[in-house]
Symmetry: D2
Subunit: 391 residues, 4 copies
């Protein structure tokens, strides 16, 4: 545990609703600062392994990174002068190491190298709980699909009763979307979270011929992908991540919307296991998990747009568009993670009312006439469950 993280960041006023799950802790200030220092430490180690930094010096830097006490508010204030928090952090780190080690701190790196690589660490760590909750939601949906493979209900198009379907098929559809979101995010995590290392102008100047070797070792040391070139102003990794998060949130929003609709009093086909109360109405049983999931998901398209718009970055470092990514990236992770956590809770506790489904369906069947035709709904559920098999 690093010194600065001890005053942990308690949830803020809206976080009970808007920051459920484990992502928030992984993207908070302490987590970011940890990641920045992890990168500086790994850089010293990589430099040492590549022969560009004396071994003892690297040890001193690594030790300083592990023990540096940072007042985040002071660091933040100091960051205004240069426009990013790495400049004052490196000053503190240089002051904390023995004099002969100071020139080797941050050697060969530019502020953005540290910020971007730390961002990748933060993202990877945040994707842990996020993917866990998405998977949990997918499993819960698949469980509902299995249990209700043959539970008939009215299918609804344009919010009008259409033809019969089964609740199992509806839940199977949810699980397919959630599984796809998981798969896409895993792919991004495995292939797109790349180290950033290029130095001031992206040429690896300052390390002589050792530059590429340091870059390679830095990636390996942190378990990040190595790219052909630095990506200071080619933000494809973030664009892919943003798209994948936006897709995941969209899937969650779809499922959450369905739950709120099914839970309407007049429909009554599902209810939440832990419904929410009201400050004014004792009888309310609000589907608070689904509502909150929808709310968190709704925030994401605008954030994805911000990150995509920020791809237009000038030359070797952008005059604004880089800094413009920091807050949307953090919020996008929290919002998507919170949406997933709420949905998982909602699905885990979902109470299904087959009788109500049947009653609503009967009204439809009387309009349709003839026997109930579920088509291939049960077989489609089987196919879906078979396809997700070992997931």
């Amino acid at each position: 545990m690093r010194p600065f993280s001890s005053p942990s960041e308690p949830p803020g006023l809206f976080d009970g609703v808007l920051a459920r799950g484990g992502v928030r802790a992984e993207v908070g200030d302490a987590a970011w600062l940890s990641a920045l220092l992890d990168v500086e430490a790994a850089l010293a180690r990589a430099g040492s392994d590549a022969g560009a930094v004396p071994p003892g010096v690297a040890d001193a830097i690594v030790a300083a990174c592990a023990s540096l006490a940072v007042d985040i508010a002071e660091l933040s204030a100091d960051s205004a002068a240069s426009g990013n928090p790495v400049v004052p952090l490196v000053e503190r780190l240089r002051a904390a190491v023995p004099g002969e080690a100071a020139p080797y701190v941050h050697k060969g790196a530019t502020s953005q190298d540290i910020m971007d690589t730390a961002a990748m660490l933060v993202v990877r760590r945040a994707l842990g709980p996020l993917l866990d909750d998405l998977r949990g939601a997918a499993d819960a949906a698949a469980g509902l699909a299995a249990r209700h493979r043959d539970t008939p209900m009215a299918g609804r198009t344009l919010l009008q009763q259409a033809l019969p379907t089964t609740f199992g098929l509806k839940a199977a559809g949810w699980s397919v979307g959630l599984d796809e979101a998981v798969a896409r995010l895993r792919d991004v995590r495995g292939t797109r979270l790349a180290v950033q290392f290029g130095g001031a102008a992206g040429t690896l100047a300052g390390l002589g011929p050792a530059g590429p070797d340091v870059a390679r070792r830095l990636a390996a040391g942190l378990g990040l992908v190595e790219r052909v070139l630095p990506w200071h102003t080619m933000r494809t990794p973030l664009a892919d991540l943003a798209g994948a998060l936006g897709e995941a949130a969209g899937v969650v929003g779809k499922v959450g919307r369905d739950i709120t609709l099914l839970a309407q009093n007049e429909v009554g086909e599902v209810s939440e296991g832990a419904p929410g109360g009201s400050s004014a109405m004792a009888h309310k049983r609000n589907p608070v998990a689904a509502v909150s999931a929808v709310a968190c998901a709704a925030e994401t398209p605008g954030l994805v747009a911000s990150l995509l718009a920020s791809m237009v970055q000038e030359h070797e470092r952008a005059a604004g568009a880089w800094h413009a990514e920091w807050r949307p990236l953090r919020t996008l992770l929290v919002a998507t993670g919170s949406a997933a956590a709420w949905l998982r809770a909602g699905l885990d506790g979902l109470v299904v009312h087959p009788d109500a489904m049947r009653a609503n369906l009967d009204a439809l069947l009387s309009v349709l006439g003839g026997p109930m035709d579920l088509g291939s709904a049960p077989e489609l559920v089987d196919r879906c469950l078979a396809a997700r098999g070992g997931k």
Copy 2:
């Protein structure tokens, strides 16, 4: 000073860059919580004045609102059960007043009444420093326009030299846009920040015939606009605010972009008074104020889109779209305010280099041939300065 605000919220890791100026303090958790309690207190007072709450009871509620010690993290955690922080806040408030006063706490209100009205208070308070910085930036631009009324420079279209203009006219254009942004936001502040009060379903049930009178007195007590109807799911006030903030940020972004372009080494026509340094390059004189202004402004279009998309709210209270406003609203205020504060700093300290302007212009004139024609540039500056007169 309320008890819970004493552990003030220090700036976070990115706030030195992304939350400059006074807005952040006005939209933080302590400020929000203060506003929520201000509304509950004003509601008790309004109820008392309208005869719906016994006078002594109102005093007790007001006193409790002023002295209530709230652990924000606990409140936040408790908010998850109901989906908003007002429910647990009202519980605490009821526990803090004498038993006979408890039933009158929050009387006639629904959670959203308190949240929305508090949001309007938060917005009004945040617009103070925001407008101050926007006006400061406008004044600085107008000062540059006056001082450089006759300073010739190359006009540039599609980033190519076009025809001569003056720096005064360019700066006058900046001041016009900033003045317009100020005027629009002032208009929103004066006419659109409205009290929300309708009770659980927007009918003012629960207060009997006193309902409309309480609503009127609540608006008067808080200095907010009274509307014809509650606006629980008709979010026009927020839409207007969002549009005005997005417009202001767009103006700031335009001016900031111009400064970064003029400050390029190869152009060299302006430089910032307090340029930023680099972690890797001692010679850098980065226009950090303009860069940061551009960065903060770039975050806003996506946030405006989120707020506009959230207008589609169901029936008498939305199943997600209401909660989805909270974070974007806060961030939009901070980003726009920070953009304005950075721009003001950049313009206040802007160093103009007429010689460089002239040198670049000479190259254009040699292509154009003939004498320099500034058109009506100086007269347009005069007109602009005359028009802003007493502003």
Copy 3:
């Protein structure tokens, strides 16, 4: 009728759904081209009145603008070379006038002057049918409010039955929002649709001292607002317009969503007068007007974001952000207008089912116990109808 408009633009494949109402015809290619030529003609007239263009020459230019036959596809192809359609249009116009008039065509103007001013004409013309449909929808909602002032129904929060309200109050809420959207757009139309005239670098060079006089007369001739300065790269007029359109669409989306929810079979409280059929289900009565209104409205937040993001324009003419406005502006007008037209149709024909409202409400009342309390709902309807009075 201009020659080029004769091959009128028939509705495209999706326009039956996505481009209802009169806006599309006002923003089509022929309408745009008309507006461009209207501006060139008015410019010649203004130049003549200001003494900068010989009177007979102005007549010739005006005549040519009225009779010029333009092949839009050829013009479009030719526009690629310069990056906007005004350059080849001016060439055609110069070729169409007597030789001595050719130098006076487009005199003192830059392409953007013509495009931006034409855009303002197009917007003003498009706002005609758009406002007409918004007002029609508002009137229809107000009519419903009056007719159902005392029709009780269940109020619903978070898509759960909450407390009783009246359908009149719900419809009154719709009318308030629609009225506000109308008022805001009218304000924009009256105060923000401004002539653009500044010449190549915004200095009014090329017209000598007559420049400001020509600008003034051009504004007067076209009935547009005159601004203190040209606004080539200060896009506040468009930002205000975009915000107002986004707000209007958001209001329409809210009302449309409510209708689709009330029309659910299980709720059954309203139905559309002209419901839509299905390619597969004969029994379907889809609320196609409300669904289409929701669809068109949903497209707008992203378009508003595009226009706001485009405010960051370089120097005296943007290197991309100006061109980036053209398509979103047009689509935003069509989408908002279409949303309004669909909603008007839906509200005009809305069939209300008080019995179903009562049946659903009875279920709620049995949970609540006690007599039905409508609060001040009927009085709020009266207040709303009184407030809109002479509208």
Copy 4:
């Protein structure tokens, strides 16, 4: 060539600038209508192969699909009644086949099956020219990288000269981003363009046990991916596509922005081979290709946001969010394709000025002192070119 496509769609007024390249023709009304009929024909064939449609009947339907004369304007007008163009198209098709074949037209399908599957065909066809232009741009960038591997220039961060780099490294960075965009889009094309087939409620009702077999054969017949379940309201394929297009446009915007900056008169390091003129300034050499590329790219983030926001779709068919995809999807394809086509043209004709690069760099070197250090720039170019090898 189908009958309805004969009145081909000529470019519209802005298309010379905003719809360059081959995408527009692939997403126009005629192309969409062709795709709709292709799907109906393939469905008849698949039904026949699966034994659900008599062979001769399928032939008749296929023949009718190939020869049906459709007045698009009439079809569009007729689509308003049902809310989509498939309903009136199926009516026309049924009228065009022999009486005994009519019941087999559209058998087992719902309107959305046809629309969504046609959309996938349209996307696949549009991605042809789009990918071709993206690849062409990547190749052009790689060619510049190879030719200028050792051409020194100033690297620039925050629009300030930073340290030396090479133009080859800058161009290599462009090619990496463009290659990534190509790879991502190819992946989407190969794995995500899926047939939609589920019938009215997604259960494959109406075809009896043959349903899954028809779905499989339909996918195979059209060369589209078969999914586990229908995706009527689980829009992950479109989300992935939208993200990939937004990423591609972002890359194009970044490169275009760089070109406009390098082409500034005061920088002068590149110029376009076919610069644009001005309606007012004979000397202008506008980098119109880069400017237009930037413009088209700028439109995309808002469109991606619209598509992601539309993922929240109700039950088995959305009440608005589905229709809300049609226009943004089309525009996103056109804007991204146009951006790519413009960039390819700009890069293919790019004129590089090493002398100007050197002159600007010399100013930087005189500030830095010491010998020029290009770091590993040339080696990074080699690595990049080697990595793209057989592309």
